[in-house]
């Protein structure tokens, strides 16, 4: 059998074999859960009055960063037959954390705390941040924790991916879900003009035009260890700005760093702009009127006063 002929027969067979193989390698246990949960649609209400999304998109899950994990890696309380007896043994550290963050996670706080088993350093950073303290110390349910920024844990993609809610493309809207929400702004007394002022700034304009080095929120404010603007450790507190701005603007000095802030323009730029607008409208009105009546007189001259011109 010639080599070519061999491949003509074998290649389609190999191809078909690949099609039959389960795509991303789910572990056996995940495959068991997905058997139902990839087909189920809709939400159900739990005893604690929370809505649970039943559907897991198996393809999206398989392609996500967590696609190779088994369901019980995070949903630790669930044993092989989860619906009969939730209550497997959960490590003490995770269990303690899950109690602390339970206002955020009405459905499965253990799964919400389980992130710490792999992302220990990051999770601890978040718990010490202004976002984390709001949950574990103030026990608020509308504050931000992992999933509020990163989206569903089942479909987490790389930060470089355009679909990532914390990537360059969507980070501004993700932060804006809270920082542009008047109810949240009033409740937590947040700076109220951040979304608008960012959009109008050079940074925001360049970002929306596709500048590859334009900053997003986290570029200046940091992410997991985010702090209040009044916290001396915040990267945007006082002199820390020199370092933060200096990451992109080499040699940033104290006279340069006030160039960008989220504050509304002060009276001088505000009235300065009003003055410029009056000037612009004034000049515009003069030239438009001048041009229009000049054109009118040119036409008049061409039609009615031809003779006088020739004299």
């Amino acid at each position: 059998m010639s080599n070519t002929r061999f491949w003509i027969i074998v290649a389609p067979l190999l191809f078909l074999t690949f099609l039959v193989l389960p795509g991303p390698g789910f572990c056996q246990e995940s495959a068991n859960c997905l058997l139902c949960h990839s087909a189920m649609k809709g939400r159900i209400k739990t005893a604690s009055n929370a809505l649970v999304e039943l559907n897991i998109n198996a393809d999206k899950f398989g392609a996500s960063k967590h696609g190779s994990l088994s369901c019980t890696d995070c949903h630790m309380r669930f044993s092989d037959n989860p619906h009969a007896s939730p209550g497997s043994d959960v490590p003490q550290s995770v269990l303690a954390l899950s109690l602390n963050i339970s206002p955020k996670f009405k459905v499965d706080p253990v799964a919400g705390a389980a992130c710490i088993t792999c992302h220990e350093k990051t999770y601890k950073m978040v718990l010490g941040s202004v976002h984390g303290k709001n949950i574990v110390e103030e026990h608020q349910s509308d504050g931000a924790l992992c999933l509020d920024c990163h989206g569903s844990p089942h479909y987490i993609t790389s930060v470089k991916d355009d679909s990532s809610p914390i990537g360059r493309k969507h980070q501004i809207e993700t932060c804006g879900k809270c920082h542009g929400d008047t109810r949240i702004i009033e409740k937590y007394k947040l700076e109220e003009n951040v979304m608008e002022s960012f959009g109008e700034s050079f940074h925001g304009r360049k970002l929306s035009l596709g500048h590859t080095r334009a900053p997003v929120c986290a570029s200046c404010h940091s992410s997991h260890d985010i702090r209040s603007k009044n916290d001396p450790d915040s990267p945007i507190f006082g002199k820390n700005k020199l370092v933060t701005c200096g990451k992109c603007h080499k040699g940033a000095n104290e006279k340069f760093v006030p160039a960008i802030s989220h504050k509304r323009p002060g009276p001088i730029p505000h009235y300065g702009e009003k003055l410029l607008i009056i000037l612009t409208i004034g000049v515009f009105a003069f030239i438009v009127i001048h041009v229009l009546i000049e054109a009118f007189s040119d036409i008049r001259d061409a039609i009615f006063r031809k003779k006088e011109e020739e004299e």
Partner: protein, 250 residues
């Protein structure tokens, strides 16, 4: 004696209105102006209409390249302006240019009178057109608008393009608001400049029936004496007093 004066007073077919250096300065001015307008527009209206501006900026090579074009063109325009001012200084120093009410571009009280007279003529209230010197009020407006733009847009643009260098000369009390003001000045006055060019300069030098599709002076630098007499009677009389007198007699 009288014979020789008539020989020197012979009126040529055309005269040079702008020498080659002024023409080059003008070409540099409008090429940099167009580049700055096209790239700057995309940044000023980055959000509206949504998505269009990013396509427009992509035509200019993306945000980084468009920014680079804008900076290079901006520096080029400022250098062109400085060249122009130095050249004027040189012309005055060597007495090639002197200040004369009939040839100067400096605004004079007569210009205000001319505006009123011209409006009266446009509206049919007067049959007499104002008699312009070398530069009419329209030309002077055009010329000084560039100076205004250079100081307001040029210097604010320089500060925005090289903020670190400029920050050292900014007084401490102004740091809180100066950047915002510079940006507003730059973008609002740039819009005024674009509107001004589209309506004023384009109408006067391109769309007006007598010059359409354009006045060729920017290339040739020359104006026919016939046109000179018609549009700039005071300059014509200043240049050719004898011919002008003769004309009046006839």
């Amino acid at each position: 004696m009288s014979e020789t004066t008539t020989v020197t007073q012979e009126v040529p077919e055309e005269i040079e209105r702008f020498n080659i250096i002024f023409r080059i300065q003008h070409v540099l001015m409008f090429t940099t102006f167009l580049l700055l307008s096209f790239t700057g527009w995309g940044l000023k209206f980055a959000h509206e209409p949504h998505g269009i501006s990013s396509i427009w900026i992509r035509i200019w090579g993306g945000a980084e390249t468009a920014g680079l074009i804008h900076r290079i063109a901006g520096v080029g325009m400022l250098l062109d302006f400085i060249w122009h001012v130095l050249y004027l200084g040189y012309l005055f120093a060597t007495k090639q240019m002197t200040i004369n009410t009939k040839t100067t571009v400096i605004p004079l009280p007569k210009d205000v009178v001319d505006v009123v007279k011209n409006f009266m003529y446009f509206l049919g209230l007067s049959r007499e057109k104002p008699r312009f010197a070398r530069f009419s009020y329209a030309h002077k407006f055009d010329y000084w608008a560039v100076f205004w733009g250079m100081f307001i847009i040029g210097f604010s643009g320089y500060a925005l393009a090289f903020p670190m260098q400029v920050s050292y000369i900014i007084p401490q009390f102004a740091t809180g608001w100066i950047w915002e003001l510079l940006w507003l000045m730059h973008s609002d006055e740039a819009l005024l400049a674009i509107v001004f060019i589209i309506f004023w300069h384009f109408y006067n030098e391109h769309l007006k029936p007598e010059v359409f599709p354009m006045s060729w002076i920017w290339i040739t630098g020359k104006i026919s004496t016939k046109q000179l007499k018609h549009h700039h009677p005071m300059e014509y009389e200043h240049l050719f007093p004898d011919a002008a007198k003769k004309n009046r007699k006839h």
